[in-house]
Every structure is written in C-alpha cells, then in structure tokens.
Symmetry: C2
Subunit: 313 residues, 2 copies
C-alpha cells in the first residue's frame, strides 16, 4: 500500500484530543500545563528476541507493544497522554499483518484513552522491529520513583505474579490443549497496564517507591533497593499466586516461586508504603515484605534460593 | 558488560538539566511550562535498510541517529530538550562498537545541548536496530507546520541540496580517493540539524510553512503543497548547489538536479514566507520558487523532468 498509504491507514484510526496535533507533521504538538511534569518512556521489541511471529497474533503483539509502555507511565503514577510507534517490516510482509497489528494497538489505545500521536514506518531487511515511546503527565513532583523507599515501609504488589511466564512457556511448547491455556497466554500477550491503580497510588499519602514488574520480582525489587539504598525481607509465602498457577505448578512438579519471582512481564505494580498507611490504600494489593536497613541485603524468607529476574544480555 | 553495565556507561556521559530526571527510573520526568507546547518526533534506523555497518563508523552512526531527530524539532521551529535512545544489538557485537556509537551520539547531544534522557538497550538476533525519540518545546501556537503555506509565498531553502546523496554514493562505491570524498561523506554521515535557524524562523513574522528535507526536495515540497492545498512553481536554476557538487556532476556527466531534488537526507529547512518579509529573514537562504493556486500543481521550471523523492516502500 506504500509508505504514505500506510500512514493514512493508521492515522484515520486514532482520535486525537482537541488542541493536540498528531500524525502528519514533523512532530506531534502537545500543550504544556503549569503544575504538571511530562513523563516519557520507550521500549523496543525485536522479532526473534522479544517475540516469535508465528507464536503471537498480530493483534496481540500490537496490544502488547503499547501496553508495556503504558505500564511504565503507570509505574510512576502518571496518566498516559499519547504514544509514538516506530515499526520496520520486511517488504514481503502481508499487508493484512499490519492491519491486524494496528487493530490490536488501537484496542489498547482506546481502552486507556491514549491515542497514537506519531511514529515512523519503514522497511526492514527481514525481522520486524517495533519501538513505542509513550508520553504522560503527573502533577508536579508527584511521580513515584524507585529510590524513595524508606526503612520500615511495607512492600506491596498488585495482582498475581508468574502467570505471564507460564503463558510464554505454553506458547513455546504449544500446549494448546491445557484448560488454562487461554488464561495464561492472555496474561502474557494482553497484559493490562495498571494505569488507574498507579494514578490512585500517586494520590495516596504514604506511598513512597514504585515500579512495574517487567523483569521479575527478584530483579525489580533489587532496582528499588539499589536506588533507595535499602535492604528488604520478603515472605515468599505471601507472594500472590493465581489458583491456575498453583494448579499448573502442582501438575508439573514446578516450584511456583520460579515463574512468580523470575518470570517477568507481569506488569503488576511493586510499591512501598508507610506501615501506618497500608490499610487505607485505594487499590487491591498483597503485602509481601518490608524494607530494612541497607546492611541486611535482600532476604527471601520461606525459600532457600536467591531469585534473580531476567537480563537481556 | 551486561545490560545494566551498559546503562551505567551511557548514563554517566550525559549531563541532565536541573529539575529533570533522566536515565534510571521507569520514565524520564520533565517539568511542563505554561506558554509552551511539547514537540515529539521519532525515527527508526535498521541495519541493512538505513545503514551498512562497515560503511559508516559507529561514531558517525551515533551522531546521525540523534541528528535526524533533532532536525524534526528544527523543522517545527522548536528547541530540542532531550532524546530517548532504543538500541538492539546482537550479543556478539564488540563492546567497543557501542562505546564508539555512544561517543558520536554524545558529540551531537553536546553540540545542541540536548541530553539523552532515557531509552532501552536490548538484544537483537542479528541486525542492529536503533530508534531515537526526541522531545522539544516551542512557544504555544508558534510551531511552523506543513499546512500553513499561502498563495504568493516565496519558497525558500537553507544551505545546499544534494551533497548528502553524493556522500552516500561515494560510501557505496568506495571512491575514497576523490578529493571531495570527506566533504560529501561528512554531509551524509554528520548532518547538522538547523536548530538555531528553525528557532529564528519561528520567531520571524511572515514565515508560514516549514519542514526539513529528509526524503528529497521533490517529495518534501509535495508534502507542504498537499497539507496546504496549494500549487507551486520552482525555478530549477535557483536550487542551491555546492561548488563541489557542480564539479562532481560535471566530471561524471550527472544532472546535478538528480541528487539535489531526489536525493534526500540533506536535513536543510524548506519554508515559505510572505513575499514582503523575505528581505528581513534572519537566516541564510535561497529563494527557489513561489506558492500558487492549487489547480496549478507543481511545476519545475528549467527542467523537463518530474522529480520525486525517496520512498521507503
């Protein structure tokens, strides 16, 4: 359909808010507001490293490409304002693939009222390469940062951990006949960024540090501890697990802590809160531990293992 | 050196302005100011489509990756505030390659006081894939857009056109012995985005439409005409050409209009200005034509050809 036809196809599908300029010029134009900070994050997905084309539908990949970025805005407690999609596709890619990708991307965008405002469509020699940048906003000084954990804080997490990792496992081993195949794979392919929860937490006094779990609790909690200069004790028995995950791990003789702590891509929020404020938190959560003095390191109570998350290199 | 070692290496090299949070959290945080609009643009470069690894030095590629993005901010008349670099590299890539890439990227960033504020470093199965997003700012409502050309406007361009296309030609055919090899290839590999010129034009009354020449004058002028609903007459003899380009084309029996109008990647500014205001423009420029009624189309006077720029598909 040609580069400019593709841009037309895409731009027709996204409604842009009043006062904002989206696709069609050298840059998008977004008004600034006194009393707000702009948040920006970006993520790249390369075919063969981050996804396998015949194991994820174009719609799911479109959804996920945008979702993982919105999760970074959620992790700071911000509202996502718009996304920017760069996509390089081989010339021989079926035109239908791109339409389906954009369809999934649009579903996520509409679900979170976060329009596509720009991007770059280009050719790749072979592999599909996707980069999404998201911009958001948060009241000045209210962004929840990694380095703000305080000694004595409770460590909390939204949702359940590890389902996404089992979803990936099922996609790779093709166990489509399992009764929970759809449950696990949708947790992997259609993650729901915790945007409303993040915004609510940023408005709640006593919430200190926050990030989203993308590399796995084991790795991501370390990010909070390193940035805050603190230690932590985690009660492994308190890590929230779905019934489905418990059942699958029991069937397959797996330690459920393995996917829950090392799996990554859960896109749940991990945050710390003053012990006195925990009971008034506006979001469903599990308390899994507490922040300690720096010298105490990271202690996993209830397991004899040392959990590390995923590293790209 | 590992993913987090690489992030450390990068983040140490970029100074972040007071009040801004750069690399190290889920998002960068940039204060908003009343009276300004945020500009955002993004560009992807894939090895094998946009560059060939052994024909461009890592330093030049780092410079160019950032420069082409800053050019989009310049094209709206804005000030670049920060960039976001996503880069996927094969695991076997020499660590020195990345250091040299970042060195060139930093040189461009320092030259334009535009720090790296975030990004994503990840693995690619084989090809290097780079995406840069840039954010900038412009006083509210002062961004110079493609669709603002008016009938009777003069069409102007900064600098000379076509040198970059000849630089690419020389890189590909390896004509390193030519006396102007360095001149042409540096125009291709180290483009200078017209940031100061763009900002000055945005402050000048009578300047209407603007963009940067990335696909070639033939294609990019069409973008202004389509967005503005206008026609144009271009005097081919007025298109600015360097002495070096005239000499090279004469030596090789080439039509100098071919690289100048179809080549692309010049990153000069193309803009339209009220005929009465042209003499007071604050930037060096050439007048190459004028905007006409829509029905008159695009007429190239002084050539019998119809020039189209580069298309990715």
């Amino acid at each position: 359909m040609g580069e400019f036809g593709l841009i037309d196809l895409i731009s027709r599908q996204f409604k842009v808010p009043e006062g904002v300029t989206g696709i069609g010029d050298d840059c998008a134009v977004i008004p600034q507001r006194e009393g707000f900070d702009t948040l920006v994050s970006t993520d790249m997905l390369v075919e063969g490293s981050h996804f396998i084309r015949d194991r994820i539908s174009p719609e799911d990949l479109g959804w996920k490409s945008a979702a993982v970025n919105l999760s970074d805005i959620a992790a700071m407690g911000g509202r996502p304002d718009g996304t920017f999609l760069s996509i390089a596709v081989p010339k021989e890619t079926d035109g239908g693939w791109m339409k389906r990708f954009i369809s999934g991307y649009r579903q996520l965008s509409e679900r979170f009222s976060c329009p596509l405002l720009g991007g770059d469509t280009t050719a790749s020699p072979d592999r599909i390469c996707i980069n999404v940048t998201v911009t958001g906003s948060v009241p000045t000084g209210r962004a929840l940062r990694r380095g703000a954990a305080r000694e004595g804080d409770l460590i909390c997490v939204t949702g359940c951990l590890g389902d996404s990792a089992l979803g990936l496992r099922m996609l790779l081993d093709g166990s489509t006949g399992h009764p929970d195949y759809r449950y696990f794979t949708s947790r992997h392919c259609r993650p729901l960024p915790r945007v409303e929860e993040g915004m609510a937490l940023a408005r709640t006094p006593g919430v200190h540090a926050m990030l989203d779990i993308s590399d796995g609790l084991g790795s991501d909690l370390r990010h909070i501890l390193e940035a805050s200069g603190k230690g932590a004790v985690v009660e492994c028995g308190a890590v929230p697990l779905s019934e489905q995950l418990r059942a699958y791990c029991s069937e397959h003789g797996l330690d459920p802590l393995e996917p829950a702590l090392c799996g990554g891509e859960d896109y749940e929020l991990l945050f710390t809160v003053d012990a006195g404020s925990e009971s008034s938190l506006p979001v469903e959560h599990s308390v899994i531990g507490r922040i300690t003095e720096p010298g105490e390191g990271l202690v996993w109570k209830g397991s004899d293992r040392d959990f590390l998350g995923f590293r790209h290199f």
